[in-house]
């Protein structure tokens, strides 16, 4: 056996033991590997920068670094999903630790400083732990991709596995396994020193090599060592040409995360001088928007909760991003070559793309399938921004080509002519308030809150009931408020998200002018679409207000004792989270607090709730469009039926319409109803006995 020189208290090993004449070839290989890595990334850089409008995301450095540390280094966003989180975490942290382990070895070798004794024992143990972690992680990944085959690692039931996926997994697995074999062979060659038991995986591996001659052990060790070293070099060289490039691109994308409000869509700023609106060609995206697609690892979390995808529509956010990536990889080299040929001064002759971005690459249906529910963006671990891309493409279809669904054209005309999507005469906007004695801002501008009612609350019969209920709550609680009455206009959310930015800005500017004219400071809305638009989009056009959703206000009024729900409402109830309230604005708790304050209610949660909530299907202008195939609202209603809900609470008039329709469609009108949280609280106040209980009234009559 090989002579053991390391004694108790001085445990250790020779770094690069048994590797004869390795240094020069290893250096050469390493040089080649890193040269290929550098070259590959350089070529990639050229592709990243060749196409797209400029966009820099380098402001707020400290926030960006924190985001990167939290989600890159600490894997916060990746670990939100258990199985893949653990799987990726094992590989990721192993990679991180083992790389420093290798560097530590190299340091010891070149510096001649050897850490012996306890540091060595700890080091060797840690290396073994993380080596094993990587193996477990890769096995989990192989199991998931090739045996469990979840739908999200494919499209419509067909896996989208690539050869590259297999190569990467096998590569990591073999590197890890050979590492342990090398360790085992060495431990066997030194005749199983007791202290090496801390290298528990290597030691266990060594036990398989009992009775093998020293020469064979040393020869095998050397061969295996080279194999291992070359694979590791191969890994480095392969990185820029494989999915491994996400090691570079994903953290960069995390660093460039949108720090503006969640759901932010860059407004069109200059209608007069722009030649083109929206995105109809790849190069009309910004470089960041295109870079997104290179940060995508096809993990499929976006697809996994997409209401359009899950009800059989063509859209898959993952596929869209990948389709853009494929198109970019076709186009970008051509554009780069053309720019090179033209030189810095010349005008590059860029060949026209053979495929139309919207019609051929992404597909017109997917562009219109999206409900803007933001599930994809909420759950993308590398912060890819799907929804703004979709809105940009819709803008092109609407503003440039005027090629979009006829029913949406009608909606826009209605919004143009009567400032509401239904096209009901705008003079009827405040009719709901006639008998309630609600003041208008014109009558009394010195109120604390403007109650911005919105179109659903003003024109839709069901929506008007919500408005009335909420106005009664405000009066009951003595809140000082007024409405704009017929001066109010449509918030424009559906126009904006449906790609009609021009119409949206006209509507928004009208409202802003009116509100600023009254010096409005605080606004309450019952519709989360208006809420989100007024709160996040209007400031970009000069409207800066404190905006509250009625769920926040009601929760506050209950907490401060101004509203006292005392009358029991006996029912099993579930809350359907509105996307524009929940994911967009993280208002999950307030509506639940409101419901929990109502005696008698038993709140049950649907499987998909809070940040995983399943859209009702009405967001992103889908409210006004025909839906083909399985209806999203019916699918959502089924989830409420599944938990045995007698009432479905909503906090959004669009959701109300969709869930009510779902209940009707499923023939559950006898057993179920949908109610806005304001209506439930009003019932519980017990001041509404006449209207709310016609049955009781009949008996006494």
């Amino acid at each position: 056996m090989e002579k053991m020189v390391y004694t108790a208290g001085n445990e250790g090993r020779d770094v690069f033991w048994n590797a004869v004449n390795f240094q020069i070839p290893l250096d050469i290989f390493a040089l080649i590997a890193f040269a290929i890595l550098g070259y590959g990334l350089y070529k990639r850089w050229q592709l990243w920068t060749a196409v797209g409008k400029p966009e820099t995301r380098m402001d707020q450095r400290n926030v960006r670094i924190k985001t990167l540390l939290r989600n890159g280094l600490l894997q916060a966003s990746v670990s939100r999903d258990k199985y893949p989180g653990i799987m990726h975490g094992l590989i990721f942290f192993a990679f991180l630790v083992l790389i420093w382990g290798a560097a530590f070895d190299a340091f010891q070798f070149y510096s001649g400083i050897h850490f012996l004794g306890k540091p060595y024992l700890i080091f060797s143990f840690v290396m073994d732990v993380f080596g094993l972690a990587a193996i477990i992680g890769v096995v989990l990944a192989i199991n998931r991709r090739y045996f469990e085959k979840p739908d999200r690692l494919g499209y419509k039931g067909k896996p989208d596995n690539k050869l590259d996926d297999a190569i990467v997994l096998v590569l990591i697995l073999v590197i890890m396994v050979t590492g342990f074999i090398i360790e085992g062979l060495r431990i066997a060659a030194f005749d199983y020193p007791e202290f090496e038991k801390v290298s528990f995986v290597g030691y266990t591996t060594a036990l398989m090599f009992q009775g093998i001659s020293l020469d064979t052990l040393k020869f095998s060790h050397q061969a295996m060592w080279w194999f291992h070293a070359l694979l590791a070099m191969g890994f480095i060289a392969y990185l820029p040409f494989s999915r491994l490039v996400h090691i570079v691109t994903s953290p960069i994308n995390q660093y460039m995360k949108n720090l503006k409000p969640f759901g932010y869509v860059e407004p069109i700023r200059d209608f007069e001088n722009a030649e083109s609106f929206g995105v109809g060609k790849l190069d009309e995206f910004t470089v960041k928007q295109i870079f997104d697609s290179d940060a995508c690892t096809r993990c499929g979390r976006c697809q996994d909760g997409c209401p359009a995808y899950l009800t059989g529509k063509d859209l898959s956010p993952k596929k869209m991003v990948q389709d853009i990536k494929t198109h970019w990889l076709e186009r970008s080299p051509l554009v780069f070559a053309a720019k090179q040929a033209a030189g810095p001064e010349g005008t590059p002759e860029i060949p026209e793309p053979e495929k139309s971005l919207i019609n051929d690459v992404v597909g017109a249906n997917p562009v219109w399938d999206c409900t803007n529910c933001m599930h994809c963006m909420e759950h993308c671990p590398v912060f890819i921004e799907h929804v703004p891309k979709i809105i940009d493409m819709r803008r092109y279809k609407v503003l440039m080509e005027a090629d979009f669904a006829p029913e949406l054209q009608l909606t826009y005309r209605n919004m143009e002519n009567n400032s509401n999507p239904w096209g009901i005469g705008s003079h009827l906007r405040a009719d709901w308030a006639k008998e309630l004695g609600v003041k208008t801002m014109a009558e009394d501008p010195n109120v604390e809150y403007l109650f911005y009612v919105g179109c659903s609350g003003s024109f839709d019969d069901r929506g008007k009931k919500i408005t009335v209920a909420f106005a009664k709550l405000l009066k009951e609680a003595g809140v000082s408020f007024a409405i704009l009455g017929t001066e109010e206009g449509c918030c424009g959310d559906s126009a904006m998200r449906g790609g009609n930015e021009y119409l949206y800005q006209a509507l928004a500017q009208y409202n802003i002018e009116i509100m600023n004219g009254y010096g409005v400071k605080k606004i309450i809305t019952t519709c989360p679409h208006g809420y989100n638009a007024l709160k996040k989009d209007y400031p970009l056009l000069g409207g800066n207000y404190e905006v509250y959703h009625h769920s926040e206000i009601i929760a506050d009024l209950i907490a401060s004792g101004k509203l006292k729900p005392t009358k029991p409402v006996d029912a099993v109830i579930t809350l359907h989270d509105s996307c524009f309230l929940g994911r967009y604005n993280k208002i999950y708790d307030q509506p639940r607090k409101v419901l929990q304050a109502v005696p008698g209610l038993k709140l049950v949660e649907m499987e998909k709730c809070r940040d995983h909530s399943f859209c009702c299907g009405a967001g992103g202008a889908r409210m006004w469009m025909e839906e083909h195939g399985t209806r999203i609202n019916n699918t959502r209603t089924d989830m409420a039926i599944a938990v045995g809900a007698q009432k479905v609470a909503t906090a959004c008039p669009f959701c109300m319409t969709m869930i009510s329709d779902g209940i009707k469609d499923r023939g559950k009108e006898e057993q179920m109803s949908s109610l806005d949280i304001a209506e439930i609280v009003l019932q519980s106040l017990g001041t509404e006995s006449k209207q709310e209980e016609p049955a009781a009234e009949q008996k006494t009559a």
């Binding site: 005027a402 054209q409 021009y502 009949q698 009559a701």
Partner: protein, 256 residues
Amino acid sequence: MNIIACVKQVPDTEALIKAKPDGSGIVEEGIKWVMNPYDEFGVEEALKMKEKFGGDVTIITVGPPRVMETIRTALAMGAEKGIHIDDPSLYGADAYATATALAAAIKGIPYDIIFCGQRAIDDDSGQVGAVLAELLGIPQVTIVTKLEVADKAVKVVRPIEGAQLVIQSPMPCVVTAQKGLNEPRYASLPGIMKAKKKPVEVKNAAALGITAESKAKVVKTVPPPARPPGKIIEGDDPALKAATVCKLLREEAKVI
């Protein structure tokens, strides 16, 4: 091909219409004005023809300064130029005076086909297209839901009770558009931007060499009588309630 589309600006169908207290017309304040929907079918068909055969689409309208907005809407859809006949003597003109003004403006320019809406949704008179054709001495095909052009002639479909007529007419001619002819396009944003710079000639009666005289005059505008409120019959006994309904229908409403 030189195509002309005549348009009229009308109150939006959902607008609140109030008669002036003196009955001299409607209160225009607060009204949202739009292009007459039937004229929109005409404009759309004109644009489709242009796209197929080439040429220009000219929009002509009669009315006060506010109608310029409607011309711009048609220009945004894709028409090339506009003529705005603005003369106080023509405000509130009848079909004959309006058609006289249109004919005078059209006589001065080349044309192969003229589109009008089959009627305007405000006064529902439905005569301008017909009178215009008479004044120009050209054929007219009215209430058209389908149109084909071949060999300097149009072949159109005109639905009638229980059947449809296929009518052929030489060009130039006047075609009045009915719902079903097409789906008017939504103007693109570049279209809207370009429309602001497209030429619109404004002419008055003198420039056209006409004296507008309406043959028919609106004597009085009165609102329709307000609907009496509905009655809800209350009670516990369905039979008694039904009897009450019968009694009321017989005695009050006098329908049975």
